[in-house]
């Protein structure tokens, strides 16, 4: 068997020229596919620097290049507020999720208490409750509590997700018990063990959680629409703001493209910096709808 492979070696040179052609064609195909994937983004970027007539006439390159659309969006629209709102909500929700998913994940992974498995099934069961079913009762509850149109309503329903809790629990399960045993002998309380030992050890999982949760909150359109969409424009998030902006000023194409770039940019930057977290996160947790 090994000998036959070795014997076939001398025949490689004639084959390799054909291989080179094949390889070139393969790379050409890959680049073509990549180009098709990029075209919309390139076109968006170019259009953002066009004058209004240029954008309507679909010229290939802007002449002249102008940043007037950027000025319009930055100075005359509410996009800075939308971005501030989204960053604020994302920051609060990421911190709450790390802490609560960490606490819950640690308890379900390590602490023994009666009813633990039943409660854990309940946590996973929440994944079965779809958003279209929660939408009406949550809207009614928030109106009744006087929280409709306030940031608190959005933060409350996103304090912790079952996906994040499950993700943290799975990570805690992989940490050897020796670390806690040592801390326990030292007389540390369970909270101290969690805070000083387990949470620092779970840093890789927390980093993934931060990135994925930031992306989720930044990209969320549905819940901001439900909770702020009936005219609470001071609370619009970036995605809701972009959709409303498009609805009002869709003829100002360069400005709409600037808004779209702003709505994509932070996630693009984070994606380029932390790609592996996205890939591992999607395989382990789930998908965007």
């Amino acid at each position: 068997m090994l000998q036959t492979v070795a014997a076939a070696e001398p025949y490689v040179p004639p084959k390799s020229r054909k291989d080179a052609v094949r390889k070139a064609m393969f790379y050409a195909l890959m680049l073509l596919v990549a180009l098709i994937f990029f075209t919309p983004f390139i076109w968006t970027f170019i259009t953002a620097f066009k004058t209004l007539p240029d954008s309507v006439n679909v010229t290939s390159l802007p002449h002249p290049w102008t940043t007037s659309a950027w000025h319009r969006v930055w100075a005359d629209s509410d996009f800075p507020t939308y971005i501030k709102n989204s960053l604020f909500l994302a920051a609060v929700i990421v911190v709450c999720n790390i802490f609560l998913a960490g606490l819950g994940g640690y308890a379900f992974a390590r602490l023994r208490f009666p009813g633990r498995n039943l409660l854990f099934v309940l946590v996973l069961g929440t994944l079965m409750v779809p958003e279209q079913l929660r939408l009406i009762p949550i809207f009614v509850m928030m109106v009744n509590w006087g929280l409709y149109g306030h940031f608190e309503s959005y933060i409350l329903i996103n304090l912790v997700t079952a996906t994040n809790l499950f993700f943290m629990r799975q990570y805690f399960l992989t940490i050897p018990k020796d670390f806690e045993e040592a801390a326990k002998l030292d007389g540390a309380s369970h909270f101290k063990i969690f805070w000083r030992v387990m949470l620092p050890l779970a840093l890789p999982a927390m980093s993934a959680l931060v990135i994925l949760q930031f992306q989720g909150t930044w990209n969320d359109f549905f819940w901001p629409l439900i909770l702020f969409g009936q005219g609470v424009s001071s609370h619009y998030t970036i995605q809701l703001g972009l959709q409303q902006f498009y609805g009002q000023y869709q003829s100002d194409v360069p400005a709409v493209m600037v808004g779209s770039i702003l709505a994509i940019l932070p996630v693009l930057v984070i994606f380029l910096a932390f790609q592996r977290y996205f890939v591992s996160g999607v395989v382990s947790s789930g998908v965007k709808g």
Partner: protein
């Protein structure tokens, strides 16, 4: 250091081994309940309770100001089930799902096969194909509306002047195309994981037999990916049934424009609540659609999901 602290703390409180063990167990359980209290509270209040509350609301006349009158019954359900717009919504989402899932899987698998070669710039290509999946759906849809409008880039290239997202006969397929593009990157990631779990000796055997690449794929790779196919059908099928963002943005609201072509179930629910201020009907539609998706999930798990090797 460690030994000395534990010794000093253990000495004063030593009323017997059994009771300290019991104390430790009780303390551990106490901490356990304390730790899960907040997450369980959130899940109870914003998932479990709304689930029950939605069913409650669905049995009443319920407007923007809350419950109207004391009449209760299944009238909201019969309204939804007899509403031709709801039928349109179900038909639209069924057509959409049957169209988009095979396309997403085919494109996602093709991309995964390309990426799975031993090539330079693998990470670059993988990131390029994956990025549309994580970019904001609002921004992507907005960009697509511009590129596919009557005078847009796409029409300039193919020499047409159709407004793809504004024409009732093409808007459905346009959303299918858009979401195939954005979702295929995620499908690719799942297929890549599956492809990398296929052992190399399988391919070596095929290479020894001098089987063509095309034949190797259909005879060996494709059947070996069966668990991934089923997983993707279930996950992306359920994802497709939840279409909302793109339909809402394309129609610039929940009207289902043009001509109810973008009317899908979640748009219907939204429109009943915020367009018609009828929360009872919206809740009933939500319950009905939940039952439909739940039943489909069970059926899929029992049929295609069952063939997964353990």
């Amino acid at each position: 250091m460690m030994a000395s602290t534990s010794a000093t703390e253990a000495v004063p409180s030593r009323p017997g081994f059994r009771s300290t063990m019991l104390g430790a167990r009780l303390r551990e359980a106490g901490w356990g309940y304390g730790f899960v209290l907040a997450p369980i509270g959130v899940f109870g209040l914003f998932f479990i309770y709304p689930f029950i509350y939605a069913i409650y609301i669905s049995f009443y006349h319920w407007g923007i100001l809350g419950k109207q009158g004391s009449a209760h019954g299944t009238f909201n359900y019969s309204n939804v089930l007899h509403d031709p717009i709801f039928h349109t919504a179900l038909r639209n989402i069924a057509e959409y799902t049957f169209a988009v899932v095979p396309l997403e899987l085919a494109l996602g698998l093709s991309l995964a096969l390309l990426i799975n070669q031993k090539i330079r710039g693998r990470n670059f290509f993988r990131s390029s194909f994956y990025f549309p999946s994580i970019a904001s759906s609002v921004a992507i849809t907005t960009i697509a509306l511009y590129i596919f409008n009557a005078q847009g880039l796409f029409n300039q290239i193919i020499g047409s002047n159709r407004a793809w997202f504004a024409d009732a006969s093409t808007v459905g397929w346009s959303i299918v195309g858009l979401n195939t593009w954005t979702t295929s990157g995620t499908v690719m990631i799942f297929y890549l994981a599956a492809l990398q779990s296929i052992p190399d000796d399988v391919y070596e055997a095929a290479a020894v037999d001098a089987t063509s690449a095309w034949r190797t794929f259909w005879r060996i790779t494709f059947p070996l990916l069966k668990p991934a196919h089923f997983f993707c059908i279930v996950v992306f099928g359920i994802g497709a049934l939840k279409l909302f963002d793109q339909a809402f943005i394309v129609a610039n609201g929940a009207s289902g424009a043009p001509n109810y072509a973008t009317m899908v179930p979640i748009i219907y629910i939204y429109n009943e609540a915020f367009g018609n201020s009828d929360f009872g009907v919206a809740a009933a539609a939500g319950v009905i659609y939940f039952v439909i998706i739940f039943a489909l999930t069970i059926v899929m798990r029992l049929t295609v999901g069952r063939q997964e090797p353990a």
